[in-house]
Symmetry: C2
Subunit: 325 residues, 2 copies
Amino acid sequence: MPASYDVAAIGNAIVDVIAPASEEFLIAEGLAKGAMGLIDEGRAEALYAAMGSGIEASGGSAANTVAGVASFGGSAAYIGKVAGDTLGEVFIHDIRAGGVAFDTPPLADGAATARCLINVTPDGQRTMSTFLGASVFLTPADVDAEMIKAAHAVYLEGYLFDAPGARAAFVKAAGIARDAGRLIAITLSDAFVVERHRDALMAFITEEIDLVFANEVETMALFQTTDFDVAASALGKIARIAAVTRGAEGSVVLSDGRVETVKAAPVAQVIDTTGAGDQYAAGFLFGLARGRPLAECARLGHIAAGEVIGHYGPRPQTSLKDLAA
Amino acid sequence: MPASYDVAAIGNAIVDVIAPASEEFLIAEGLAKGAMGLIDEGRAEALYAAMGSGIEASGGSAANTVAGVASFGGSAAYIGKVAGDTLGEVFIHDIRAGGVAFDTPPLADGAATARCLINVTPDGQRTMSTFLGASVFLTPADVDAEMIKAAHAVYLEGYLFDAPGARAAFVKAAGIARDAGRLIAITLSDAFVVERHRDALMAFITEEIDLVFANEVETMALFQTTDFDVAASALGKIARIAAVTRGAEGSVVLSDGRVETVKAAPVAQVIDTTGAGDQYAAGFLFGLARGRPLAECARLGHIAAGEVIGHYGPRPQTSLKDLAA
């Protein structure tokens, strides 16, 4: 069956609150720069009260990726859990307005829509504190099998490894995709996620995954080494394709024993790196679904990442289709 | 008594929803490009559903201005009405996080926090559709006399002329400021506001106002002429100081029969003009409170406007104090 979606993704459905912050603020609040930390609702309220004035924007790693795929002119679907509140309405509006299919029913009673408090330092680095709220109430019942089967690739967010129900949803989706002969992709998401779930992630990748996205820190964390080449090479051995991003240096794509290094796109000014990895995955997955060679997939990834780091907010504000043309 | 605030402002407390839009979208939705139209809650829901994916950011014209004054390192206070809902919390967080004093109690029961749906066309022009919600329930009782007396200037938003209670609050604040020997400033806000309330605005300016902010369209609307020089000159006769913005051309400052033309600051790329006039007023009022000559006040205004049109969102994302240095 030809795929009617380029990508179907499963992830934590989150609204971002993004504000500029000083290095001193990160220290005062005990935040690990560049990482994603999980917080409860009380801490979220206290941290929000301490944060600067900012903007709100729909986020969620895999949701940002499918929004990017749609911006390239691709077709995409998304599965994730919001609550029936104002931020949930914002999330649903934004993902559908971008042209992404989204039908997961909101959580009826219970936790609020997930929020990610993002403090952006003057160097453009983002430090994330996430209150997962309703997003962790995603269950296997929310995985629409027809949606997964209809996609060229299913894209899974490593963050989901933190919630048992969501992880089960993730495993179900991988099974459906495998049976349908579809590509299965994952992003490692965060070095602390890798630390928390190293063995389970390693087994899952080895058994189920065709394509792994990771940044260099996550890759080294997975293999417990500080030697990037060793880690990348090891990742290339357990996955059919591995695409490892290296910030301003670009990315390395490993496949069938071959290693290709692709440069990042030039960027006038880095404002906020939120969503850079998500948009790299968007370009890569879109290229792959359209049959482009791997190096070109990586170049599309860098075009998308270059757009998103030039402004606050994790999703493209300019048509990626136009930028890629 | 020396002023403890540079500016105290009264305005409609609004959260903006900002999304890119095509010219065709404006036509299909019957929106007058570049203007601010008032809509009810039903229309707000329908228009939001039709809009593209965007960002949310605290807005409100005079609130944007005091946020700009604070970004210059000035001290400011704000009076405006939100509801006790999620968007109201966002508004309160952002204005206080910027260092602005804000104590107006939220509306207990009734309308939701005001939203302004802003469609930004590829030329950077913004077209606004505002659901006023709780903001019009501002009353004279919300005007904190001590706050007004303590400010070098009180700044009034022309948009408030649309709601009788808010207009009464506005008149009360002007009276307090006059009795305290403070500067009274107003912005005409929008050409349609001028059309709706021309006589009342004209009388209010003539009797109460020291400083008028307006753009060229609003100035010509006030005097029902298409000749800018005639309109600007007429405005200069009814107000002690008039600062008229002309988009990319800069601004014209009229005072005591003198006319000074000040160029706009260079801008690399215009992304979204939302807040340009508000930030011009911020720089101007900050300069005035710090005793700068009028032409320098206008230059500070252009620095602030230049910052805000380079990104989505109506408030500065970079320290205006640093930019002005």
